[in-house]
Symmetry: none
Subunit: 422 residues, 2 copies
């Protein structure tokens, strides 16, 4: 039992449009427990579309085709469908009524090309379109399904919900549960060592590591005859991760680190102020993406010049002269300064060398000092994030937010992986 998603359109091949339809459908089918074996994209060329139909329908039980059903000359899907299933076009009066009603609602006359969209393959069950003019088609052979839907995302989504989903749900009942655990502050290879054995822990749970500059996601997927069994299997593997990698684990699913920090601050009734030099606003940008962050975020200071560090944050001029702006002392003074002047519970600060220039042997490009200040203590740590300016900003912002998370969770101030090796 496999599925293929087949996307049609030159605009996808030349990169003018990103294929979000395939990822959306992939997620839907996975949720139903239908494994997607392949995604194929071909252009608006009759022979290519026909060849792709052939191969997809030979090798899979479910095929979902999207795109190429529009009224313009470059849309070839309908003709290819008729050839492939050897069926003529006939007028469908329901579809014609749908089209006429839609144009009447918009006070526009129905054009000939739109009227032509009511001509559909005779052998197909029709999937009516509630959001556009092109109908979809469903071909059914025993327990196998070939669906054809328009490429406009919201039209396709509606057709999936109303027509494809009921058909598929009736047929495929098996439990497949997924969960994504979010880590930060540990590289993929180290995390993989720390979690050695996870891949073979349970036969019914597969594990994937998905790295990014701001952390590694761990995707767990359980398959079982019953949902309860799949849920139990997931719990076992999640427990393994929680035990071995707890300090790096900050959330799950689509959560962000800034949301987690915001929730912790809200729960503890504490407030935050931010002083950024090298990160230049990435931290405050992330924070203010969280709806309601004004409840716990008071202000940010982007102190790019030394003068602003002195004037706005109260950093001692002689301290900058003595230690340099990128230093333990100045990071701490910035974090203290912004916390005090904003009258907040926690202050964080970043100061570093984002590059490409400005590095020295002692202070190379990529070095960032990050400090966290509370009324009880101020701690700073040096990180080395590499030579890419924008990624260094992203990595430093994530590390700064993680230091706040660690402070709020009473964890060691920096990842133990760093504590061991630096």
């Amino acid at each position: 039992m496999n599925a293929e998603i087949l996307s049609i359109g030159d605009e996808l091949l030349i990169g003018q449009v990103v294929n979000t339809n395939a990822s959306w459908l992939g997620e839907q089918l996975s949720t139903l427990g239908i494994p997607v074996r392949r995604v194929t994209v071909v252009g608006d060329t009759h022979a290519d579309v026909l060849a792709a139909f052939q191969r997809a329908w030979e090798e899979n039980d479910v095929v979902i085709v999207t795109g190429g059903l529009g009224p313009t000359h470059d849309d070839v899907t309908r003709a290819a469908v008729c050839d492939f299933f050897d069926t003529p076009l006939v007028q469908n009066t329901d579809v014609l009524e749908d089209i006429e009603r839609m144009f009447a609602e918009r006070r526009r006359p129905v054009s000939a090309v739109n009227r032509d969209q009511a001509m559909v393959p005779a052998a197909a069950r029709i999937m009516r379109n509630t959001a556009g003019t092109a109908p979809g088609y469903h071909f059914n052979q025993e327990d196998r399904h070939f669906f054809v839907a328009p490429g406009v995302p919201y039209e396709m989504h509606g057709m999936y919900e109303h027509h494809m989903l009921p058909v598929l749900r009736a047929q495929f009942r098996n439990a497949r549960l997924s969960e994504t655990l979010l880590t930060t502050g540990i590289p993929e290879s180290t995390l993989s060592d720390l979690l050695a054995g996870i891949a073979t822990l349970r036969e019914d749970v597969s594990v994937a590591f998905l790295p990014s500059p701001t952390g590694v996601r761990i995707r767990l997927t359980a398959r079982a005859p019953e949902a309860d069994a799949a849920r139990h299997a997931l719990t076992v593997v999640r427990g393994f991760v929680e035990t071995r990698a707890s300090e790096y684990l900050f959330g799950s699913g689509t959560q962000t680190l800034e949301e987690v920090v915001g929730r912790l601050l809200t729960e503890q009734g504490r407030t935050l102020a931010v002083a950024e030099s090298c990160t230049g606003g990435v931290i405050t940008d992330k924070i203010t993406n969280v709806a309601g962050s004004s409840a716990w975020f008071e202000r940010g200071v982007i102190s790019y010049s030394n003068e602003s560090k002195v004037q706005v944050l109260g950093v001692d001029k002689t301290m900058i002269a003595e230690h340099g702006a990128v230093s333990n002392a100045v990071a701490c003074a910035m974090a203290d300064g912004v916390r005090r002047s904003a009258n907040c519970d926690i202050g964080i600060a970043t100061t570093g060398i984002a590059g490409p220039s400005g590095g020295t042997a002692q202070k190379p490009v990529g070095l960032v000092w990050i400090a966290v200040s509370t009324s009880r203590e101020t701690l700073a740590h040096a990180f080395y994030f590499g030579e890419h300016r924008v990624r260094t900003k992203q990595r430093a912002a994530q590390a700064a937010l993680d230091m706040v998370r660690r402070q709020l969770c009473s964890l060691p101030p920096v990842p133990s992986i760093l504590t061991e090796t630096t």
Copy 2:
């Protein structure tokens, strides 16, 4: 002469990751004049990967494979490559040095799984990775090319630029020139009206409008037997755009608005300070992405609370009480305040309602006041950016930077399209 793009990874099939690599590569290859016939996505399954290799290499002259080269157990691409080209793994000392240097820079030990990434297919030319640990492979048979690159987008982009592009460009020489013109402050439909006739201006130049939340790009593509003729054709169409849409046109190619603003400030020897409320750091983040911005950017203040507007920017408390924080008066006072305290030539400020809550009938979610202050005058303008929090931040930041560009270029302070309709 055709190309196939082959993306590998379960995360793509189940829709956890959208396949932006395929669209990026599709655009690159199209720019070179190499037609992409198919995009195929398969999971991390040896047999499926091998079958996809077979088919792609049978039917195409250029195959680009991305993904599945990471150090963890779920990455199967390397083994499939060795099977497919019937070649063993050997250690590559250049790659090992790259990996060791990268870890040394980050002050971390090299783990065994990372060291294993220096084991590469013997028959491949190696594409070294400047941004990560996994090297890429290039197999060349006469004029046909099979490339394998990691799936991390920035690693893959670097490998394309440094290794694949030179190979492909040397082989595919036909005069096909492209240029992308960048506009902001004007919606696609209005721009399209303003440039009516552009599509049929020259038979040898095709035109595409590519809209995004921060502006519309116009891609011009000229095809001609000789490069000179293509270049001339491009000049004619570019001239048409420059004449009709000059005030909206801020650059070309991969330039950003913040780079253009930085260049103008540098040329005019002027400096900038920023006060952000609703945009929360997006403007300073964009600015500090520009290398060398410390020469013209002095500081930013993310004045999320009213207290910080009063305390750091010197906004009059009674003014906030009277007009509200989201108002013409407060925007101007913030821009004046940050310019004066930072002792800069230009100050910009944003204050608005990013949502989802906080809107009223008079001041709906999406309303943003943006002000630009110089020693001669301070001007503010209201924009309505819609209900999506993150997009409103992005749009407002772009509009603020565009107001600075307009100030520096002595253009009207707000787009004429807005001046006419509001």
